[in-house]
Symmetry: C2
Subunit: 406 residues, 2 copies
């Protein structure tokens, strides 16, 4: 059995020339040009690119994003409240919206991350009482989900709820209200705000906790009718690859809700593994964390294996690697490219899957009535006969007439 069967569609086309005559017996070039599946990555540098004024910096970021676009069709943009709105009322709207539109024009779906989180939260919120904090949190959601509607229609609505009310690294406004309201009520409120502002949006809950606690939280939220579109699972593996056993266990446990699963924040590194005793990854602060040749082979191998398992799972709809380049979060060698933008083995390994094994390209001979049939990966297609061509979408079975344009 084809383990990727659910990723493919039966496609039958009646190929006609511009004048309406069938392309009988012709050689038809079939080329998939985009994926239905969301292959994602952090796209924070697209915001930097929008702001860059120095030509050298701009060229460097442009080169980086070109390589990014060589792999991905789905990008995460930063909406950390404390950075997005460092002073109440002064937001990073211009550059963030410019980046979102720029990505959208290139065919990239954009997700905003996150609308509610205790970390990187706005410090100015702490001067308000809990009722007012909640009020401003909901206003913030109304404002941003509304402003970006049509450009950003996917949101990590709330992040890391399992730990949220007991997070004790530092006082912050969101832990305060979560402790006050309880997890379920807070999640209900923030999802309701997002849903009423953009009813068509894809709304995620996201967590690094993959234990039974997160499962039970999801049960409680679904029983409380919280409109969760997809379950977000973080998988930062600075302390070593989960391996097939843990990966399959997580997939099995989170599948039972029947909801789409998004791997929202994946990290596999190409350097030394962080010691297992570190509980909060942020505690591992190093000046330099070199990528090594052995590490790079390992990273490429692990990425290939993990993406293959996830792509084969019927409920997984998206995989996002967190860092595109080395030297981002925790200074880790976590990217597909080095800090100077040169591709690492993991870049080519993933390219071989996304734009190789998992992409349909073929040359088919139309039958005497001009029909071709094939089973191809879901996404956008282009067919061509000589100079004439046409595009179509195949997110499911296709059985249609297609007229080539000269």
């Amino acid at each position: 059995m084809d383990k990727y069967m659910h990723r493919k569609a039966e496609i039958r086309l009646h190929v006609l020339y511009p004048d309406g005559t069938p392309a009988a017996g012709e050689q038809i070039h079939v080329d998939q040009i985009s994926h239905s599946f969301l292959f994602g990555c952090g796209a924070f540098d697209s915001v930097a690119l929008m702001k860059a004024e120095d030509p050298q910096e701009k060229a460097f970021l442009q080169e980086r994003m070109d390589k990014w676009l060589g792999l991905f069709n789905y990008g995460t943009l930063p909406f950390y409240w404390g950075r997005y709105e460092p002073v109440e009322g002064t937001t990073a709207f211009p550059e963030t919206m410019a980046a979102a539109r720029w990505l959208q024009e290139k065919g990239v779906r954009v997700k905003g991350h996150p609308l509610c989180w205790h970390t990187a939260c706005a410090p100015w919120l702490m001067k308000y009482d809990n009722q007012e904090i909640l009020c401003r949190q909901l206003e913030r959601i109304h404002r941003d989900v509304s402003l970006y509607k049509g450009v950003v229609d996917m949101w990590d609505v709330i992040n890391e709820v399992v730990i949220m009310p007991v997070f004790d690294r530092y006082d912050n406004a969101i832990t305060r209200i979560c402790k006050d309201l309880g997890r379920i009520r807070l999640v209900k409120e923030v999802f309701a705000a997002a849903k009423e502002t953009n009813p068509e949006a894809t709304l995620l809950i996201n967590d690094f906790n993959t234990s039974v606690s997160y499962e039970i939280l999801l049960e409680g939220l679904l029983e409380a009718d919280v409109p969760i579109s997809a379950i977000g699972i973080q998988s930062h593996q600075h302390q070593g690859y989960w391996g097939l056993e843990k990966l399959n266990d997580v997939l099995e446990r989170f599948s039972r809700f029947g909801l789409p699963i998004h791997f929202t924040e994946n990290t596999l590194i190409s350097g030394e593994i962080m010691p297992a005793h570190i509980v909060d990854l942020n505690d591992w602060q190093v000046d330099s964390w070199p990528s090594t040749p052995e590490g790079e082979e390992r990273q490429a191998r692990e990425i290939s294996e993990m993406y293959s398992v996830l792509f084969a799972h019927p409920l997984v709809e998206a995989i996002t690697t967190w860092d595109f380049n080395d030297g981002c979060w925790l200074n880790a060698p976590s990217g597909f490219v080095y800090m100077d933008n040169r591709e690492k083995p993991s870049y080519y390994a993933l390219q071989k899957l996304i734009h190789g094994e998992w992409e349909t390209h073929d040359v088919l001979t139309a039958d005497e009535e001009g029909y071709i049939s094939f089973n191809g990966f879901k996404g956008g297609y282009c067919i061509a006969v000589g100079q004439a061509d046409a595009a179509f979408a195949a997110n499911g079975p296709v059985n249609e007439k297609i007229i080539l344009a000269p």
Copy 2:
């Protein structure tokens, strides 16, 4: 400040002789004869006592239960489905009901444990499909809660839900339906069945898992309006005393729901501590687990400390020690008496608290109008002047006229 203030009531009595004249200036003996607080223990041997036919065995069990009654006012009786109803339709009703009535006559509140649990479940259920299993589970609840109404009005409705759907030690009917329905729906169903059968009953959920998972489960259940009367917390400490830090942490975390808390299954042992690497306590199978003199002192000290912390906490309403005598669960030295019924130091240590420090006994002089006032631990009282006496209950403030009986 008195840390037991919430355990006490202001009591003012106008003491009158049978003929209606005030007991002015008299010496009044005030003696607390029972507790409002539930000091509990497993009372499984009361069922054995009901069944005992051999006179020697009967005398031995009678002696054991007499000592039991010397400490406790609250007992847990076994309703493990597989043992209570080993063959479908054939139950241990006669001896269980006899034991419950016997305890009730002695002023003991009785709790049934448990109505739904994956462990010790009836094997004959497994021949049914999941819908039928659920159906029979709910019928079982309706039947037993109804049959025992007025005698057993407290129930551990469901036990160990956190692990229930992922319990993998052996296949069983309850894990099957919990996996199928999800935790919250199953808990909803079993509580609804118990509640509609006995709306006045005290209905508990009970778990050994005291992690954030149980907290989140409770959040979900309360949001789903499950009528939980009290939160049951197990505290089997075969691997060593929790200590004040863990105990206070658990109390703080489970207090935020504002519900009464019952410590339902407490164990502190007087022998060698079970190694920390054992995950499922049932895996520690030993032929002999001796009680040691040092262990007995430690057990007595730990019990005194733990009971004192719990009795001081305003939301705790019950503490149940699991085993009354050594050699029960896991063959552990977990009792207040040895296997031969001799009292251990822990027996006297707890007696000193329950029937010493935490019990009000006094001799007061009535004023010239026959009034006495005092602040006493909540419970039942007897007052006496010479041969004349009277009883009253003080579960809260009391301000009343009391007529002595000759």
